[in-house]
């Protein structure tokens, strides 16, 4: 499959690979996917007292599009407030990376990872988790 240059670029030079302390109260961790489906994405955010995401890290087991989607997601998360991050839509990722239709799944996974990381952060800090809309797959 021929990938867009942007996918290749993120794949070759993934941004923000790494691990944040998942036990820290200021860190939210989202782990989505399953090994038997061929993709697992772990996305983490670090949030400051102003509700701004100061850092984001990812690790992904999956195809090139899954790695590129999560790499792009971490770039987009940094500097956004948690509320702004909540509005990131998988179709924005599809568009930015020019993902082919069979790879839309990867962007859905990234959106779910973002929301799941935010909810982990919310629950840790005594807030109600946000009800996630049933994903669009």
């Amino acid at each position: 499959m021929a990938y867009s240059e942007k996918v290749m670029e993120h794949y070759t030079n993934p941004r923000n690979v790494g691990t944040l302390d998942k036990n820290s109260k200021s860190v939210g961790t989202g782990l989505v996917g399953a090994p038997e489906c061929g993709d697992v994405m772990r996305l983490q955010i670090e949030v400051d007292e102003n509700n701004v995401i100061t850092d984001a890290k990812f690790k992904t087991f999956g195809c090139g599009s899954a790695i590129a989607s999560s790499s792009l997601a971490t770039e987009w998360l940094k500097g956004k407030t948690v509320d702004q991050a909540m509005t990131i839509d998988n179709m924005d990722i599809v568009e930015e990376l020019a993902l082919p239709p069979v790879k839309i799944h990867c962007s859905v996974l990234a959106e779910d990872a973002i929301k799941s990381a935010i909810n982990d952060y919310r629950v840790k800090n005594g807030m109600e988790p946000i009800a996630l809309p049933k994903s669009h797959h």
């Binding site: 794949y11 989505v32 399953a34 697992v40 690790k59 992904t60 090139g64």
Partner: protein
């Protein structure tokens, strides 16, 4: 050394220049229709076809009259299986095959099920070999055909063909084999092996695409197949259609070269394959899939745990290989062959097939080893599963989010 390096010779092989040379005149000056019996143009073409028939027959130990030219192995598989089913229906309707067969066999059997065939799909053991006792137990008086591939296209495992054919014959059934990956690579002898029908294709053995062979035994027993195409009655009535003369000439030449060079090539390729495998499996959590004794000399199928095959192939961008991961397709199902071995889904997603060939050099294998190691390490650094594994977390205990 030129990049990228082609290591997908199970998918197709490049044409050997010597084959091309043999073919060229048959596109231009020797262009006649081999069925034109009344002039020199036809005779010249027929001569070319006859010679190719001899070359092909010699490779698998049969006579020229037993070679039926087709458009490739898929057509040969279809003609053999459907042709036997239709011809021997009054004797029975039971066919036995295995779950690791090529789709050309599996889908043909599925098609026949709609037409009243009863098909047994034998499972394989974890090394990819079928269980002979299970085969024997599946045989009935209704069994007309056992069709089991010679060497597997994904993992290279070679089935115990002689034992299988003996069991089929004991019950009065015919034995067919899809030998597409085996012919030209390892010795295949239809008489010694007890094969009644055999399919192969030129483009897997440095010949052209679009031409293949169905071997149909003429003696002990005389096998008949019902034609699947009606027309001029070419190929002893079994496969009508104007012969692809240049293709057939190329197939013949390819057969001859394989026969002459098989021993030295097999030794060279298995040494390169072993080098590749041992260099890659010294890495942690890397496994060779399939039986390592009974197999083709040129295939290595390796799973690299905690990295995903398609992602890995992207990192090995200078290597043309293939993956058992289904991430390249719309379905998320990994290779059914690897799953048949009992591989877990995540290991099946993590596999890479290296298919070596006549033009593979040691320098290329050295490069492939370095490139693959680098790619695996890079992706493991990116893999949350690898991190968890390193921390000693049991991944099977994690409740994965359904997706």
């Amino acid at each position: 050394m030129e990049l990228p390096i082609y290591l997908d010779n199970n998918a197709t092989t490049p044409l050997d220049p010597r084959v091309l040379e043999a073919m060229l005149p048959y596109f231009t000056t020797k262009f006649g229709n081999a069925a034109s019996r009344n002039h020199a143009f036809g005779w010249v073409a027929e001569e070319g076809v006859d010679y190719a028939r001899e070359q092909a027959a010699k490779l698998i130990g049969c006579t020229e009259k037993e070679i039926i030219f087709t458009s490739g192995a898929t057509e040969a598989d279809n003609l053999g299986i459907k042709g036997v089913f239709e011809m021997y229906q009054d004797k029975g309707n039971h066919i036995i095959t295995a779950t690791t067969e090529h789709k050309a066999v599996l889908d043909t059997c599925k098609h026949l099920e709609k037409l009243g065939a009863k098909v047994t799909y034998l499972s394989v053991k974890e090394d990819g070999l079928i269980d002979l006792a299970e085969l024997e137990a599946a045989m009935t008086e209704q069994t007309i055909l056992v069709t089991i591939m010679y060497g597997n296209n994904e993992i290279g495992v070679v089935q115990p063909i002689r034992e299988i054919s003996a069991i089929a014959h004991k019950f009065g059934a015919l034995f067919m084999t899809d030998a597409t990956q085996a012919v030209g690579k390892i010795p295949v002898d239809v008489n010694a092996d007890g094969i009644d029908l055999l399919a192969f294709s030129a483009h897997k053995m440095y010949g052209p695409k679009g031409v293949g062979v169905l071997y149909v035994r003429r003696k002990n027993p005389r096998v008949k197949v019902t034609a699947q195409m009606d027309g001029g009655g070419h190929e002893r009535g079994m496969r009508s259609g104007t012969l692809n003369v240049p293709g057939i000439v190329g197939l013949g030449k390819a057969c001859e070269l394989c026969r002459l060079e098989m021993d030295s090539e097999a030794a060279r390729l298995s040494a390169l394959r072993d080098k590749l495998e041992s260099a890659l499996t010294v890495m942690e959590e890397s496994y060779v899939n399939g039986n390592t004794q009974h197999r083709l000399p040129h295939v290595a199928n390796i799973s690299f745990k905690y990295v995903e095959g398609e992602g890995l192939m992207m990192a090995m961008k200078d290597l043309a290989v293939s993956s058992g991961s289904a991430c390249t397709s719309a379905s998320l199902e990994p290779s059914y062959v690897l799953k048949s071995l009992g591989l877990s889904d995540d290991l099946a997603h993590s596999s890479i097939r290296f298919g070596l060939g006549r033009f593979t050099t040691e320098e290329e294998i050295d490069y492939a080893i370095e490139n693959t190691k680098k790619a695996v390490n890079h992706l493991r650094d990116l893999s949350p599963l690898w991190e968890m594994f390193k921390e000693g977390i049991d991944l099977s205990k994690i409740e994965w989010a359904e997706h």
